[in-house]
């Protein structure tokens, strides 16, 4: 769907993106992660043709990025905005038509979405008379009204209450089912693990990792095991730093070159092993770890 090759962009002496390579397959939800100022917004703006990259290529469906792609992309920026004095209906028509829909198409699609999100009764209301959550729904409709094949959402859940966030999440998943490719830029890791099939992480203008969630987690397995022991025969070595809770000792141990089986049989000498589980890092831990690593490096 989307391929980015060797993309570079500088603002004066500051590098915003250096040699970014990305491949976003069709029909996935792709998480674009990175701390503030990493270059995510710049990358998104380049894909949206708001600004131009210095060097490198961007292909959409194997075609070099060009103005005809505007109607294929839907973009929800992090900082949302609607005309406060404009009516919901007029506003949606305007955005739909700017994306290239005919007036008739725009009307029927807007009606469909207003019904679907149960906000038909707000049609004639001005944005300034709506609550923030209501305005967000309108904003979401304006992003997807032209049925984009590539949807770029920058922090889509910020500003939503949990009920509406759930609603939007389900809409995103439904769009994915229909074949829409979604790029989700966020630093809320719980939504990444829940929604994304693939991720890429950007820090300080460079891509520092990418792949499917599984692959990423696998490569960051720190080979540490979480252990619980009962009915002690011998004293535990001091360096294990165990916590006791009603005769059960909890602690973690690295493999340190051993196989898990070797470690387990070693543990069995100390007592009854009630838990022996590999510690899998959360995306959040990987994120923090990676950001710190690149900052020190």
């Amino acid at each position: 769907m989307l391929q980015i090759k060797n993309l570079n962009k500088s603002y004066g002496p500051n590098k915003a993106l250096s040699d970014i390579d990305l491949h976003v397959p069709k029909g996935v939800i792709f998480g674009l992660l990175g701390p503030n100022g990493a270059g995510k917004t710049t990358l998104i703006r380049i894909i949206n043709q708001i600004i131009e990259g210095d060097t490198g290529e961007i292909l959409i469906d194997k075609e070099l990025l060009n103005p005809s792609h505007i109607s294929k992309i839907g973009y929800l920026p992090e900082e949302r905005g609607l005309y406060k004095k404009m009516k919901v209906w007029d506003q949606l028509i305007y955005f739909a038509r700017l994306k290239g829909l005919s007036h008739t198409d725009a009307k029927s699609k807007i009606n469909f979405w207003l019904d679907k999100l149960e906000i038909s009764s707000w049609k004639e209301k001005k944005i300034e008379d709506l609550s923030k959550g209501m305005a967000q729904k309108v904003q979401f409709i304006s992003t997807i009204i032209h049925e984009p094949s590539l949807l770029i959402l920058d922090e889509p859940f910020s500003g939503f209450d949990p009920v509406n966030a759930e609603l939007i999440k389900n809409e995103i998943l439904e769009l994915k089912e229909k074949g829409t490719t979604v790029i989700l830029s966020t630093h809320r890791m719980e939504s990444v693990e829940l929604l994304c099939d693939q991720v890429a992480m950007i820090n300080r203008s460079k891509k520092i990792l990418d792949g499917t969630i599984k692959e990423v987690k696998k490569s960051f397995r720190p080979e540490v095991y979480k252990i619980s022991l009962r009915a002690l025969k011998e004293l535990l070595p001091r360096e294990w730093i165990a916590k006791e809770d009603e005769g059960v000792y909890h602690f973690t141990l690295p493999l340190s070159g051993k196989t898990p089986n070797e470690l387990l049989s070693e543990l069995m000498q100390y007592g009854q092993v009630s838990q022996f589980q590999e510690v899998v890092p959360s995306m959040e831990e990987i994120f923090i770890h990676q950001v710190k690593a690149t900052q020190h490096g």
Partner: protein
Amino acid sequence: MDKIWLVIQREYLARVKKKSFLLATLITPLIFPAIMGIFVWISLEDEGGEALRIIEVVDENKMFFLESSEQYAFSFSNTDKEDAKKMVQEGDRYGFLYIPEFNLEDPEGIVFYGEENPSMSLISYLENNLRKKIEEQRLFESGIDPKIINEVRTNVGIRSITLDEKGKETVNDATVNYALGFLTGILIYIFIFVYGNQIMQGVIEEKSSRIVEILVSSLKPFQLMLGKIVGIGAVGLTQFLIWVVLIGTLTTFVMGYLGMQMPQQTAMELANPELAGSIPQTGNVAEIMQVISGINFLGLVLSFLFYFLGGYLLYGAMFAAIGSAVEAPSEAQQFMFPVTIPLIAAYMGLFVFVLNDPNSSASFWLSIIPLTSPIAMMGRVSYGVPWTDLVLSMSLLIAGFLFTTWMAGKIYRIGILMHGTKPSYKTLWKWIRTSQ
């Protein structure tokens, strides 16, 4: 192109549909005829309704006789100063005029006593009458019959006619040209300021509410800027056209009403020679009509529309660029100088140079330089201007607005996405240079 059209439509409809637009459009043209109407009404009321004011004259020379008018009656009852004062204090008289004994060559010490401040017109009425009497008396004393003087008094008026190469004669009158140049120039000045500001406000609104990020993912910043400028310009033209129609009908209506009251009015003026002097005499009306018919109205209207739009586009782009660089209208002040200074210079130039001497070299340059020409050239056009000057000025104005639009486009496309930094002229210059 389609997208620019969409933006134009939105900008136009969003403003025209507002209640404030409707109010401003309907009320503004009412103000002018309404004020005129109120004045006329008051003066008509004044005349009929007010009681006659009696003024006592205490003349120690026993020489002056003042004719009573509709408003003032003069009484000569040989009272002395003290009695007259008492009469005023008791409210029997509106005031009294004290004329001490004096030398005719050096009349001094004339005083008007009244219980309130007398009006300018009363004082000048008294002064004129006394002056005339004294002059007549002095002429008489030096052996000239005042009647002869009245007979030889003549009115001189110079008609001015321009001759073109083909020998066509056009009657003109500097006053009419002055008025037309003044009116059209000022209109363009106001139009640029009012609607330029609307462009700026609109850009700031889109920038600060972050709508712009969504918009520029659908169309080019330049299209957005152009659409906004054209859309707001169309609002201005609409408003202007409505005004022309409204003022036209209302003025016709008011003038028609006044026309019926006219005989009384002229009678009043004729009774007061000083007032009549400031108003063209009836014989001149035909001449003014002739002057007006001699003006090339088609040319005037066409060049007005050209400079109206040209000036608006030239400055509109600059207003858009300023709006894109700042985040609140209050921050815009620092960038307003390049816009306000030439506009005010053009405005001042229109009065100081162009309208007084449309062919001076200052007038020439003011009407050629694109930043001042939209206002200054209108002053010259009303007098008639060589077509070479007009073509030069118009082409420079077109080049000028293409240039400002191009420059503004460069500032705009970067400015609208910049947040949190306060730009200076230096950063604006950097934006112009760095954008592709």
